[in-house]
Symmetry: C2
């Protein structure tokens, strides 16, 4: 079991800290520049907190789970082994003898608990010994741990943005249309759940269905007509339909 | 229980027929212009089939579950109560004393069974008596049945295309990126499942996360750079990121 200094108190930091705590690790201290967040999380973990980077307590490992653009500023103050948790930030962003990355591939929200044991975690380190240490830590949280270099992790993070944020935008657009026409959005809930299941059970391109896939021009024209008063949605509809049709050749 | 003539033998027709059969209705006959499909489905239902529209056997109700553009051609040959199952086709497409619609909001694939009992079904009819009859039929299949007029159904179908087909395209794009960079796509499976769960548990706009939502320009620039050699994905990335950012104002 390790002693861990946690930097950050946002969604990812909170989920990670609680899972680490439950796995038997000791959180030595929580840092957040926002006092309220630091207090809240340290209360849950029964450990001290600080809002001052100059008062960071040393431990076996520091986990830097702050916003990407704050990593450099934070890491400068840490003089013991440290890892960050960012999908899109290179390991080179960290300086020191033992540096690494632990990137859980999941979307974390404030009021929704996520089971980290089923969350894949990508790891990286600047030396083999430290990679082993990070792997042990990651395996105490999840059954699916994979070493991945920074460059590949960047592409994985981009894929995750498409698979998660952009698909959520599609649901937002659908919800806006339903709401405008007084249609209960929950009519789409089983379709949304089934779509995700299908993509996981089959592969995504096999799961593609619908007018663009079938080349059904009359339905696509009808949809474009329905979107006449919403040029943004129309543009998205047409670009994505062309993209589906292209993959059908 | 009703006797039903089924027109069509595709994915939707097959799922519907089997659920109707299991619910205790009698499938009088299956029609498909493709002999193989007609034979296959009629074997599963233990009922006769035809490929000839002039040999349609009458029953309590005809369910027209053919491609949208074939509905008009098929319905001309039916001289008893009839309904179609299309999301994007008006009820006016059908002629006769008793006409209606039964639209299950789900995506059906060949080799994947879907539980219709949890699938919302929208219904419509050209008269109240027939609406009641369709409602009884729909309620024998699903617990969630909602009367919806053709115009609203058109908007619902458009929403379903966005929520299902377009989100699947996002998974396809993610899979293409992973595949190109030798990253196992199953790393994204838990994220995909969690995203769908979040949209259903919260509402979609609350579930939005990621660089465009946070206004993280440096990550978005980095992603655009990674997509430099794939102009189509770059265009989609930028259009959808702008759309997310717009909703964040």
């Amino acid at each position: 079991m390790s002693s861990i200094t946690l930097l950050g108190a946002g969604n990812l930091a909170t989920h990670l800290a609680i899972s680490l705590h439950q796995a038997g690790h000791t959180i030595t201290q929580v840092f957040s520049k926002t006092k309220k967040s630091a207090q809240l999380l340290s209360n849950r973990l029964n450990c001290p907190y600080t809002t001052d980077l100059k008062s960071i307590l040393p431990s076996d490992i520091a986990i830097i789970a702050v916003n990407d653009d704050a990593i450099k500023e934070v890491e400068k103050h840490i003089f013991f082994p440290k890892i960050h948790t960012s999908g899109s930030t290179s390991i080179d962003c960290l300086n020191g003898k033992n540096t690494g990355v632990l990137y859980p591939i999941q979307s974390f929200s404030k009021n929704k608990t996520v089971d980290l044991s089923e969350t894949p975690i990508c790891i990286e380190a600047n030396n083999d010994m430290f990679l082993q240490q990070i792997e042990t830590l990651a395996r105490s949280l999840s059954t699916y741990v994979l070493p991945l270099e920074s460059q590949q992790r960047g592409h994985l993070h981009l894929s995750a943005v498409m698979a998660c944020n952009f698909s959520t935008l599609m649901y937002v657009l659908a919800e806006e249309i339903c709401s405008k026409h007084a249609i209960p959005f929950d009519l789409l809930h089983p379709l949304i759940e089934e779509t995700a299941k299908k993509v996981v059970d089959m592969n995504p391109s096999t799961a593609l269905t619908g007018p663009a896939k079938r080349g059904d021009d009359s339905v696509m024209k009808q949809h474009a007509h329905l979107l006449e008063s919403d040029q943004e949605k129309k543009q998205i509809y047409q670009l994505l339909s062309r993209s589906i049709a292209k993959r059908n050749l």
